[in-house]
Symmetry: C2
Subunit: 383 residues, 2 copies
């Protein structure tokens, strides 16, 4: 096992009607900016439930944060924070709203050009405190320090990490997911699955807690994922929600090598073609597994055996089957796993490597030995 | 899944030489009381390494905290805290030292008779902040809110819980375990194993994260436990240490029913006969499993299948085998699993239920349907 620091102080309030704990979770006397997305929370009752908890707080609202939150949109929220002297941000939505709120939190206190946080990786030294009410389990953003922001005008989707933007609390009420469309539910399951794979499918370092927990989450997602479409099934939704949080809260990634190459290539596909984040992951991961078959061999075998319960006496066959089973799982979740199924043309093979180079991604993956050329081969296999 | 709050803000610094992060983990300018046990840290170099980190702090020392920390000993430390206006407690040792330090932290700021925290369950409203350097993985105390204290003169071993005594940080350097005697290493593995069982082997509530994580830790302990005796094997010690922390940090116990009957009966055996805590658990748990076979049936089958990989087509045989395998695992760890092997006489059958009644334990277990009479039957089976 590698040395690590693990520290996740986010307080999670999980369960039926946990939104009703909001009033006690929020700092007293804080001036709150409530951030949300396209307005679905106004239709499904979440907005009203949240507002009932905010009667003793001064509240300013900011709606309209996009899936793949847009830099220019978020900068408008930053203005609101400054104008109204906001001292707490409350994100109500899915990973995009939480990610966007994290950027607002950092940008509002940033001394300089906020774009540099993303484009140049300039360190965030403070942020407006934030909390969240999660309505779409997927990204793990609700308790972690990561944020991904899109800037369409430049065709860039970039991320930053900062301990200062970790939510102080996360309210997880699985009932808030009842009104989600199937596409978003499916995206959430696939996203969580690939988050685990990015931290698990690398090379072994004798990290038994991390491996077993990762394998546990993967098995749960495989078992429960296809049931996410069942209407108002609390147990299924609750379990998928908690599995998604555990998939990216730092725990299974502490003390182990991490990959994230699938995400890096996926981000370029989203930036280029506007494909849903999870959709890009379902396209890239299987071909990544094939391309990295040799470097990931030991963990591929462990994955075949422990997650898919395959007989590994014929090692090559077991690896083949594990990759095919992964593809079938994505398809079972409604994903199209080839680019042509999304009408993406062959030029993608040149465009993705070029964009990786533009973004300075000259070497990536858990061994740092993947290059834009490898991305080209992976994309070619995914055509 | 049941509703829950999960919040574990302890910062963990894990790995080789992590003690060298102590200076940055400790609050600046704090006046530190360093608490430790029988002095082994002075022989194995841990004391010196810790003191090198404390050169800019004012430090008062308090050694001599016993395995099963004694109330009267701890109250002497409370006096030191008051006398020297200590504002941070640093526990260096195993679970007993950390538990003892937690009690000192609470008692030093307690308005009233500190014994009432344990004997009457009076709420702790504040505590001196504390951190720890863990040298014996076992109890999970390094990141949780629990503390168990012994008062031999009254024959009582009692516990309390308070968010105020959760360590701010936990330094986990697996190398500090190299000098531990085999008996303590074995105790640690068994203790962690039974902690998981108390939170896992109850009745199913559809908690897939908690179940899979619990099953993962159990499998790891079964695989690695017998290797704990290997000299200076960093990988084995590191993994056992992190598994033991995860076994009782609140994560696998969130949103599920919990048992703790084995611990309650075990505590009485320690109070009566001075048996090591883990030794009592290895004696009680197998008979508890047999006694509760019907109430725990579904989880016993899941345990047989997922942890021991037993064929469950014959359900009764699978449960039988799972219990026997649990016993064999304890024996493999060097545990004697019957009371007569420890020269405990038959009067124990009457004494344990009587002590449970004295301590107000009239109903316990995950369904609250165990009574001192059940404890009598369990103890009889363990003779």
């Amino acid at each position: 096992m590698q040395d690590f620091i693990f520290h996740n102080p986010t307080k999670v309030a999980f369960g039926k009607n946990s939104i009703q704990q909001l009033a006690t979770l929020l700092p007293k006397d804080s001036k709150v900016l409530l951030l949300y997305g396209g307005g679905s929370i106004k239709k499904n009752g979440v907005y009203d439930t949240v507002m009932q908890q905010l009667t003793t707080h001064e509240v300013v609202e900011f709606g309209g944060i996009e899936a793949n939150p847009e830099y220019t949109t978020l900068m408008k929220a930053v203005e609101l924070v400054k104008q109204h002297h906001i001292d707490f941000l409350l994100a109500v939505g899915g990973g995009s709203v939480v990610d966007g709120t994290k950027f607002v939190a950092a940008a509002a206190e940033f001394d300089g050009e906020p774009w540099d946080i993303l484009a140049k990786g300039v360190e965030v030294k403070s942020a407006v405190p934030l909390g969240c009410v999660l309505t779409l389990p997927a990204t793990g953003s609700e308790t972690n320090i990561a944020s991904v922001v899109n800037r369409s005008e430049l065709g860039k989707k970039l991320s930053f990490l900062s301990e200062h933007v970790r939510p102080q609390f996360a309210v997880l009420d699985p009932q808030t997911t009842y009104s989600l469309p199937d596409r978003q539910l499916a995206n959430g399951v696939v996203d969580a699955f690939v988050h685990v794979m990015e931290q698990y499918l690398t090379y072994p370092v004798n990290a038994t807690v991390q491996d077993r927990f990762a394998e546990g989450i993967l098995q749960n997602l495989i078992e429960l994922g296809p049931r996410v479409f069942e209407k108002d099934n609390y147990e299924v939704r609750a379990n998928l929600m908690w599995n998604a949080t555990q998939a990216l809260n730092g725990l299974i990634g502490a003390g182990v090598p991490q990959d994230w190459a699938t995400h890096q290539i996926g981000h370029e596909l989203t930036a280029l073609y506007g494909l849903d984040h999870a959709v890009t992951l379902a396209i890239v991961l299987p071909q990544m597994m094939r391309h990295q078959r040799s470097d990931k061999r030991e963990k591929l075998l462990q994955y075949a055996s422990r997650v898919w319960h395959l007989d590994t006496s014929d090692e090559e066959a077991a690896i083949d089957q594990a990759i095919v089973k992964t593809e079938q799982f994505f398809q079972q979740m409604g994903m199209k796993i080839y680019l042509h199924e999304h009408n993406v043309e062959e030029t993608v093979v040149r465009l993705v490597p070029r964009k990786l180079m533009e973004n300075g991604m000259m070497s990536f993956g858990e061994r740092g030995n993947l290059t834009p050329k490898d991305a080209e081969l992976i994309i070619k296999a995914a055509l």
